[in-house]
Subunit: 195 residues, 2 copies
DNA sequence: TGTCAAGTACGGCACGTGCCGTACCGATAG
DNA sequence: CTATCGGTACGGCACGTGCCGTACTTGACA
């Protein structure tokens, strides 16, 4: 028969994640219910609960399945140019639909669900931090960055203003904003002509 | 009669807010319900719904009633020293119980409830930003800060790394961390001995 | 290589629970 | 007399968990 209603294995997982993103974009994360996802996906609630422990876990998986980590750093030799390019890409992904609003809600959920916070950190934040620190380390070795500088701190200083705008003032993340941040910061973090 | 069960006016408001903070600290914001607050406060649910439109609005009011804005800036003439002192105080308030965890949850709620986001911004974020910008402006006029510097951007650069640690990596906010941020930043933002 | 029984993942349904937000009540105070 | 209160009851929704019948998969046996 065509269109068999009962399948198994990984295809169900994929359908459910796709439906989660669809519904999430339509009605927003707050109103999104597992019940509704199951209904639209033509899936039993069990099938969802079997794989994901919470709405947050489901959304995190769904979002990660969407972009598959294209936020890698170029390495042209110029640290500021490379940071600029990577952060522009990150901002394009995170700052706009479909990823943006759902990612924002996920970070929100992470503020009162420690399991979501842990999963988000492990599967998205930490890998991004690692990439950034690795790229910064290289720049440091090449003398483009003050040698004693704590690179985890640098990560916080670079990302912080973006998250501040994204989560707190909730204004749009533009390339122009990114550029202003970078311009402001790299006067101070680079090697200075000081006695 | 002593301990009259039915009162009116503003005293109910106060009891409800106090109870909200109590219960919130005990069981966390996620599990906090208006029903439970009403029960413990000895209040009718209607009395709560009459004054607050959501759980977030209730918590925001409760938190603001607690500290009453003691995050003012000193003005010793040294901008870095003043910022350090103010941010230390802010971190002491925001980074620890009782304010800390509840404030964190409130920011989380603001990520999918625009009304909470607006209220939070209007009643806490914006006033703090205004104070910071005012203090920075003074420093700029006295030549302690690069003269062209966008002060709203400076606010984001100062606060961003703190919120990043608070919300994203969720590590504790210490004075030592604040100091490292300030030390790193004020090499770059101050006036430089450059040709 | 073909057959069939056991096992597994599934969709659908119903259940009990908890909290939502609203409506109504009787009591109390101004 | 009227506004406000505490208390209770209500319908509604989504939660998370059982149970059932079904389709697909596996593998032992011939």
């Amino acid at each position: 028969m065509t269109d068999t209603p009962h399948r198994r294995g990984a295809d169900r997982t994929e359908v459910i994640m796709r439906t989660t993103l669809e519904l999430g974009q339509e009605i927003g994360y707050a109103k999104l219910s597992i019940e509704a996802v199951a209904a639209r996906a033509g899936a039993g609630k069990h099938t969802i609960y079997r794989r994901w422990s919470s709405k947050g876990a489901l959304l995190l998986d769904s979002l990660l399945s969407l972009h598959e980590s294209d936020l890698d750093y170029p390495d042209t030799g110029d640290i500021v140019a490379d940071l600029r390019e990577q952060i522009h890409a990150a901002v394009d992904l995170i700052g706009r639909p479909p990823f943006g609003p759902l990612y924002q809600a996920l970070v929100g959920e992470a503020q009162y669900d420690p399991r979501v916070a842990a999963a988000l950190n492990e599967r998205f934040i930490a890998p991004q931090t690692d990439k950034t620190v690795a790229r910064l380390k290289k720049a440091q070795d090449q003398g483009q960055l003050a040698s004693g500088f704590d690179l985890d701190l640098a990560m916080a200083i670079l990302s912080g203003p973006l998250y501040f705008r994204f989560l707190i003032t909730q204004e749009p993340l533009t390339h122009e904003y990114v550029d202003r941040i970078l311009d402001a910061l790299f006067v101070g973090m680079g090697p200075h002509p000081q006695p």
